[in-house]
Symmetry: C2
Subunit: 502 residues, 2 copies
């Protein structure tokens, strides 16, 4: 708090600068606050309006965009404080972020306990950490550098800081797939089957972190996914399930911030991933959770050894926070379904739900496997009967009906639309399709504009083992702009063997 509140106030003028989630404040170099407080560019300061306070990074202006009694805020900061032009904001020194000393001690080998993790997660949630500070925390918690106690402590800290959902039913089920397998969009199908079976599955999903599409991105092409807690409750109470974006309800607000930095770094450590997944399940009120870990050379998890380690972590951390967790390890050698990107994957989901003749069977099989595991874990059917029961609910059309009903109460169903610029990639030789590099295929979908352009991405026309003729179409790229298509094709021209044909 400033010593003298009035001496530290400036009048807001809107400059309309979009810095996304990073809060910035703009002040004149020779305004009285910069001079009296010794502020310079990149200083992190406390900005207060009425009862709200945020932490923002200072950019100093040498020009006359502002006079020396004015300040401006970046668009996200403007929104977070709920201000309008002419409002008076107070600016004060930021106290040193004390929990950063815990991050430093972790880098130097100390284990972090529950109270350490709570202090860090609290400061991150309050916006006290800058991007580079969050990057240091993420890095030191990545690469198998957290033991199971630390992961559990981090998970608990994340659960405790956010909102928690309460339900009338005792048993609440959920599922999660450890990402990295393009097109593996089982969630909408599984939720529809499980809810059609009468179970309660309040599914919150994330947007893509390092992949071309997250489930929330895919669902957004078909319905509204940004629901309030109140609306989620209404949807789940009415239909038994929902398919919404978790970020909108701040079930794990620290995690939402960390994920943005993980995205910029293009990596997320396994401990962070487990904490991220299980904290959101616990906060959503789940009691029984099935985790699917696809394993393959170019999937996120590459070996069975890694998969079993994750299974161990998920199970133990689940126990610590009171979740019944069942982990299934599946084949992750090739993409699931035909599409990669929000709309391409949504089209696959709809094909399976509708039972289209050309539906991707691999996606259907996976969805049935997972839905079956949930039905068994929840004692809805006896062991060994899950897959059969799930299949029945899908084939009968009950699951598709349930899907449309959920979309309806979430805000209405809309048909997903591919991006307008279309480019086909043809095979330069004949032979058998031997391998598919999931990572580079995901890169192509990302370069084409996915996930931020919902219609962008690609649709594969062949599966591993298929016979390919020379000149036959291998996949089709969809982009919103010619610039993105050019850039994607340039990358593609530099690559060899994304699909190996011999």
């Amino acid at each position: 708090m400033p010593t003298n509140r009035n001496s530290n106030t400036l009048i807001l003028k809107r400059l309309g600068i979009d810095t996304q989630w990073e809060y910035y404040i703009y002040m004149q170099a020779n305004c009285h606050i910069c001079r009296s407080e010794g502020f310079e560019s990149l200083t992190r300061v406390q900005v207060t309006f009425q009862d709200k306070t945020i932490i923002a990074t200072l950019n100093v202006l040498g020009s006359d965009l502002l006079n020396n009694k004015q300040a401006s805020l970046s668009e996200s900061a403007w929104k977070a404080l709920g201000v309008k032009e002419g409002d008076k904001i107070a600016i004060a020194h930021l106290h040193p972020v004390e929990s950063m000393s815990l991050v430093r001690s972790k880098i130097y080998g100390k284990r972090l306990n529950e109270s350490d993790m709570s202090a860090i997660i609290k400061d991150i949630t309050l916006g006290h950490y800058s991007g580079v500070q969050m990057a240091a925390f993420i890095t030191t918690c990545s690469g198998d550098n957290m033991d199971v106690h630390e992961i559990a402590a981090l998970t608990k800290a994340m659960v405790n800081i956010g909102q928690k959902l309460k339900w009338k039913k005792k048993m609440i089920v959920d599922k999660h797939c450890v990402g990295g397998l393009p097109g593996n969009r089982t969630t909408p199908i599984v939720v529809s089957i499980v809810a059609a079976a009468g179970l309660t599955i309040p599914k919150t999903s994330s947007r893509a972190i390092t992949s071309p599409a997250g489930t929330a991105d895919v669902m957004e092409t078909m319905t509204n996914v940004s629901l309030t807690l109140k609306d989620i409750k209404r949807v789940v109470n009415q239909e038994g399930g929902c398919m919404v974006w978790g970020g909108a309800v701040q079930l794990s607000p620290a995690d939402d911030l960390l994920i943005k930095i993980e995205k910029a770094l293009d990596f997320d450590g396994e401990g962070l991933m487990i904490a991220s997944v299980l904290s959101k399940k616990a906060a959503a009120g789940s009691t029984h959770v099935v985790i699917d870990i696809p394993v393959g050379e170019t999937a996120k998890v590459r070996t069975l050894v890694d998969a079993h380690k994750l299974k161990y972590y998920f199970t133990v951390v689940g126990q610590v926070i009171g979740l019944e967790v069942e982990v299934i390890i599946t084949d992750g050698i090739q993409p699931v379904g035909n599409g990669i990107g929000p709309v391409p994957e949504a089209l696959d989901v709809l094909a399976v739900l509708k039972g289209d003749k050309n539906r991707p069977k691999d996606l259907e099989d996976r969805a049935i496997l997972i839905a079956g595991a949930i039905l068994e874990l929840a004692n809805e059917v006896s062991i060994g009967q899950g897959k059969f029961a799930a299949q029945q609910l899908l084939q009968s059309g009950s699951a598709y009906e349930k899907f449309l009903a959920i979309c309806q109460v979430q805000g209405g169903f809309k048909t997903p639309k591919l991006s307008p610029i279309v480019h086909q990639i043809y095979s330069e030789k004949a032979g058998i399709l031997r391998t598919i590099d999931n990572r580079r295929l995901a890169m192509i979908a990302k370069l084409s504009g996915a996930p931020s352009d919902l219609g962008a991405g690609l649709i594969l026309h062949k599966k591993m083992g298929d016979k390919i003729k020379k000149g036959e179409a291998l996949f089709t790229i969809y982009t919103d702009t010619q610039g993105e298509l050019n850039y994607t094709l340039k990358y593609l021209a530099q690559q060899s063997d994304i699909l190996t044909i011999t």
Copy 2:
């Protein structure tokens, strides 16, 4: 490179936004480049003007500060590209930074070899790494997480990317003190003694990383420290020594960028520190280097075990890159000299050089110890005679004369001036001064404005073991502004036992 250069150009308008070392570009949300390339805020893009290219982070403007044919750059980016209003810049997609995959593999336990380190350091030097990416590299290389081969590889990579100084003489000496001990400003004294002895010591120093003053900050209060390579050569050829800021000559440009992030994180790992120190010595053309490691509970290096590990690393890495390194481990229990902050420390240096009656004897003793070690390492005197020879050069006034001569050719000597706002801290009790917390004392000096306000900081009036009367002055705080004094005093009021008196 853009596919069509003309379609990717915008006209520059200056907005005067200071974002320090981070390059930003500002564009209208609905300009043709944002639309055709799919750019959004925080996208990192290539910006080209004539033959120069930089990487900048995009901030999108929703207001009318720019029209849709205009762009603006932050002040540092404006300067780096050497542009003026009305110039036409080209904007293109940034290729993914490939060496980040090496950083990721390091986080997952892979050792980095010389070619890995070279790739990373090259990308950092070119500005391809964002702040969060550099933070990830720094974090994974901190906390004893690099072995001696990796430290050597990093050091070599840093040496190879920058400029290298060549000298006519065969033997070039240098010294470095591993920081963390407030006030330990031996460098100007050591350089003066050693140059007075006829040796060549082209000393480049850094600015403060996490401390209240670096040697370059201290020297800047007395002379010009931002010299070009050509001027450094002139000074050293004429006087045998110099005392300049290394950052100005880009002897290790990647290191200069890394240090900025280390400053924001408030930590630097030991491997990074060794690479930073030795790469600068090698680039400066040194052959014989004395490293001083002060050890104490509240110094940077806390235990003898840590000091000996550093000694091992310094010696071995020195051998790998062809440097003769002599490490001396010294007592780092209390601050050296009386001042903490650029000007307060400069006043101590001058008092020792002039032989003032009230000069800080501890600073003098340390300077003689180090200068003596250099004289012996360089075979200027026989083993055991170094300290005596150094003392003679100081007492005779030769060192002070040399100091003034060097300042003169660097740009002239000026008298350092303390900040105008003065506040004394008195003892609340009587007794013996038992301990001094160096870390928190450094924090007080930093809160008072050091090192960016050169005159800010504090002057201690007592040493450990001194008898203190109640109400006697313990130290004096100097600040440029009342705001900084208030903030410093507020911090001080929350602390106990920075000086323990019993």
